[in-house]
């Protein structure tokens, strides 16, 4: 089954929905972190898996070693989200998230999982709420720590054929904490989302 890319209207609608979601997410994250949080306007692209490494490399930068968290989501939207962190800045985030102990490897991992979960949850809950659908989440897991990007996203390691690339830069005031979000969705979900987006546009 081949998947048609979303047309311009559908992409616009998705962009709009993602903007709303990220706006809400930024608000909530700022409350949680008690700090000014900047979430960039998400850039959305639909890509085939063979373009993935090049596209993400361009996005993240070639030199970087990255850490990555994956999390599955299910219900009417089904797929897997991957959050790529380029700079951990873990000690700063630890403080913001209420950790008052020494940072060790386990806590760093927990922080990555925590922030990954926050971002994935924020954007997907935002999208599904705006679109009036339900979404549930599995526990996030660590995919890679300080690994060259091209090893993290080796195409033969991924079972997905299509990815919706949502580029969101997340930074906290005075701290540079960059992350990128990738959403991989089943073909079925891409179609489901298409029809939901069509309905969503009809409502305007």
């Amino acid at each position: 089954m081949s998947v048609q890319p979303y047309n311009e209207d559908q992409t616009d609608a998705l962009q709009e929905v993602a903007n709303i979601a990220m706006g809400q997410a930024g608000d909530s994250l700022a409350r949680i972190l008690d700090n000014f949080v900047t979430l960039s306007v998400p850039r959305i692209r639909q890509i085939a898996i063979h373009e993935l490494v090049d596209t993400v490399t361009t996005m993240v930068g070639d030199e970087e070693e990255v850490s990555a968290v994956r999390q599955a989501f299910y219900n009417s939207l089904r797929g897997e989200a991957i959050v790529i962190f380029t700079q951990s800045g873990a000690d700063e985030l630890a403080e913001l998230l209420g950790y008052d102990c020494e940072l060790d490897a386990a806590i760093e991992q927990e922080l990555l999982l925590e922030v990954g979960n926050l971002l994935v949850g924020a954007i997907l809950s935002g999208i599904s709420e705006t679109l009036g659908t339900e979404v549930g989440f599995s526990a996030p897991s660590l995919m890679a720590e300080r690994t060259p990007l091209y090893q993290v996203l080796a195409p033969d390691q991924l079972s997905w054929q299509h990815a919706l690339l949502v580029e969101v830069n997340f930074s906290v005031e005075k701290h540079r904490f960059k992350s990128h979000l990738l959403m991989f969705m089943t073909e079925e979900t891409i179609e489901t989302l298409r029809s939901i987006l069509d309905e969503f546009m009809d409502d305007f």
Partner: protein, 321 residues
């Protein structure tokens, strides 16, 4: 006699399922505490309901957990904890006779927002799973994998990395150096007249020489250099982020470390020397890591031809090639 009422299935399942389920409200007061939690904590629901979770269990990591729960209220989003990073939330005993060093129940937790009809989060529901078995298997597997990796990467006699591993390392470093335009140098070294040691003193003596030379080479390397036994009395050294200049300095240091002190075992004292060949990755004409090994071998041959106990840097227009 009263009529039989159908049992409330959902209540029954929530209470009896083999997972901990408990619910807190915005003030962190417990509003549900199922049988699993009762059994493992030794605290009955009737004594806990309405009580603040942290007052009832002061040993909980309050600051962190309160924040996590608050986040679920604010973000209306799931949250998780995993035994791999945080072994447990509640310190419960486990039911395993064979513990594999695990002192108490390992737990995975999910925090779910429970929304009211307005879509606001009214409660946070915790589910807590006993993953002690999984964690023990995982630990055993990790230990075993680690052990296997050690064995399969090392040479039994010298305890240096073996040929397969050192080639793999070189192959990776070659790709990395090429990709990021970093320098990379390779040294191939060979013990001079090793056959004579074997012939004169026997193979056991030869083995001992190999062990002593290996230790001495290893102790003279920098942290990032990787040394492996490449063949019988041949050693391969991979020097990431190093050009031939640095490579030559290191090679001389190694050569001197072997030459300066006789190899001694029992009452035998042997003067041993090594010869070395050095080459580096050249962006314009280095095809693959095998080519580097070939060049280092040619330079090593040069060292041998010129009288041994020396280090030679490979040059592409060397007349001997």
């Amino acid at each position: 006699m009263t009529d039989s009422q159908p049992p409330n299935l959902l209540d029954f399942i929530v209470d009896r399922t083999h997972a901990g389920i408990f619910v807190v409200n915005r003030d962190m007061e417990l509003v549900l505490w199922n049988q699993f939690m009762e059994v493992h904590s030794g605290r009955k629901a009737q004594t806990l309901l309405g009580k603040n979770l942290f007052d009832a269990f002061p040993e909980l990591p309050r600051k962190w957990l309160a924040r996590k729960v608050e986040n679920v209220f604010i973000l209306k989003n799931f949250s998780f904890t995993s035994w791999e990073q945080r072994p447990y939330l509640f310190k419960f005993p486990h039911n395993r006779p064979v513990t594999g060093g695990v002192d108490c129940m390992r737990q995975d937790c999910t925090l779910m927002p429970v929304k009211n009809t307005l879509g606001d989060v009214e409660y946070v529901c915790f589910t807590l799973f006993d993953v002690t078995d999984t964690s023990i298997y995982q630990q055993q597997l990790t230990a075993l994998t680690q052990e296997l990796r050690e064995v399969s990467n090392h040479d039994g006699l010298t305890q240096l990395f073996n040929r397969r591993y050192i080639e793999e390392t070189l192959s990776k470093e070659f790709k990395r150096a090429q990709r990021y335009s970093h320098p990379l140098t390779v040294i191939l070294s060979d013990i001079d007249h090793f056959k004579q040691v074997n012939d004169t003193h026997g193979h056991l003596a030869g083995d001992e020489v190999l062990r002593i030379i290996s230790r001495r080479l290893q102790s003279n390397l920098r942290d990032t250099d990787v040394l492996g036994r490449y063949g019988g009395e041949e050693f391969l050294i991979v020097l990431p982020n190093t050009g031939t200049k640095g490579g030559k300095v290191l090679a001389e240091r190694l050569r001197h470390a072997i030459e300066s002190e006789p190899v001694t075992f029992g009452d035998i004292h042997l003067s041993i020397n090594i010869s070395l060949g050095i080459t580096e990755l050249r962006e314009e004409d280095s095809r693959d890591y095998e080519q580097l090994i070939g060049e280092a071998d040619q330079a090593l041959y040069q060292s041998k031809e010129s009288g041994r106990n020396q280090a030679t840097v490979f040059t592409a227009n060397n007349p001997a090639n």
